[in-house]
Amino acid sequence: MTYVILLHLLQLASVAITDDKPNTLKKVSKANPWQKEALKIITGSKQDAYKPLSSILRDHFGLTLDCHIDVSGIDRGRPLDTQGYIAHNDELIVLSYRCTTSALDWITNLSTTSSEWEPDIDIALGHAGYCSCLMGYDLPHFCGGISKENGDNIKKPRVHTGFYNNFLHTTPMILEHIAPLLKEDQKPRKLMVVGHSLGAGIATLAACYFILNFEWELLPHQLVCVTAGAPRSVKQNMADIVHERLATLRPMDKAFFCRVVLNEDVVVRVVYLLLSGPLYEYLYARVFFFVVLNHSFVDTPSTFEDKSTTKISGICASG
């Protein structure tokens, strides 16, 4: 993959900010003027930036829009606000998710609970399951632990509940528009799963779904996932499974995942500065207390290395 393709894919991720409804970009860019700026860069002019998504995809990328993804509101007490699109041409299939634009998106972003990765069950259910963040841990009942059915002792991989729920709500569209194009008798295509910010988190889980649920060795297609400014969306046990699958498919040139990070986007100086002081100690103590009570909550306690404030200060000082 060249950086030109990378640029192309980041553009496809950025155009998910608009759709075919009138005034979408206008509404979004009131609070997020940088989204308009990105579209101006992509389309080359302010006038073109306000064109419907289907026109932008056709004129600038040679793609046919298959469907808009638009799921928003509160579902069973969970915030949902996922937009994006599916498009294709003779060579590509594109699944792109929109970034953070609303308060509901921020609720999803700030959520830190995880759920078991079981799309076969959850797609039919339509969500991650009730109290899914408590499922799969060996917690005592008085701490809220719920035993798995059938005495299943094998821990399932875990993913971010918010992104997972958003992804699950988009699966009907994925199954309707993408799955048929991935059949063996179809033309060889590249499936591009892209997203920026919140969209990147959802795109990562969508890519996990594709890589784990399709037999890429037998299919004539390729899977490419490119994200920009992606939040962490999976736990280590999920990452291990995906990396193992990637290690098999990468030499066959069947799958490729790439995460783009711009400069300080990855080093949250403001948050680090806050967290390197007493507040961090307070939060750390609280989290540590929780972990001691529920020792199995954190999969890898060694990740507490992050506490190293000297390392953090070093990063802050470098700027």
């Binding site: 950086y3 940088w34 910010s197 990855v266």
Partner: protein, 136 residues
């Protein structure tokens, strides 16, 4: 900002290969191996040692020497282009003024900031100033 949430102490990790874009707009592939892209280059699988790679870059800035030679040239280019764009487009000037007040970590999360260095790289290559993948 998003790339650091949810926190790592809750067990969350990143999945994929890292491509890092520096403040100067250089695209670094496999940052731990110090490969800088100035032209067409393959983005291959690298060690995915989470954010250590990025943290090391921020701390040590191993690319300072590499950049030195082109820094002045770039600054001149940037000044020219920003002046031109401001003259041509008053709306852009308003946006640029506003964006100057935004803290760097937030700015670096914006989609237009992600696109600009890659577009610049593309334009530089188109104009014939490209060098293929190099390592210091």
């Amino acid at each position: 900002m998003k790339t650091k949430v949810p926190p790592r102490f809750l067990g969350y990790v990143h999945l994929d290969n890292l491509v890092y874009i520096t403040e100067e707009g250089e695209v670094l592939i496999k940052p731990d191996q110090k490969i800088t892209v100035k032209g067409v280059a393959d983005i291959e699988d690298g060690d995915d040692d989470e954010d250590k790679e990025v943290e090391n870059i921020c701390k040590n800035d191993p690319y300072a020497d590499l950049r030195k030679s082109t820094d002045e040239e770039k600054k001149d280019d940037d000044d020219d282009t920003s002046q031109q764009s401001s003259l041509n487009n008053p709306n852009n000037e308003k946006y640029e003024k506003m964006i100057k007040m935004v803290p760097r970590p937030l700015k670096d999360h914006m989609p237009d900031f992600y696109l600009k260095p890659l577009i610049k790289l593309f334009e530089r290559e188109k104009s014939g100033n490209s060098i293929t993948t190099s390592s210091p």
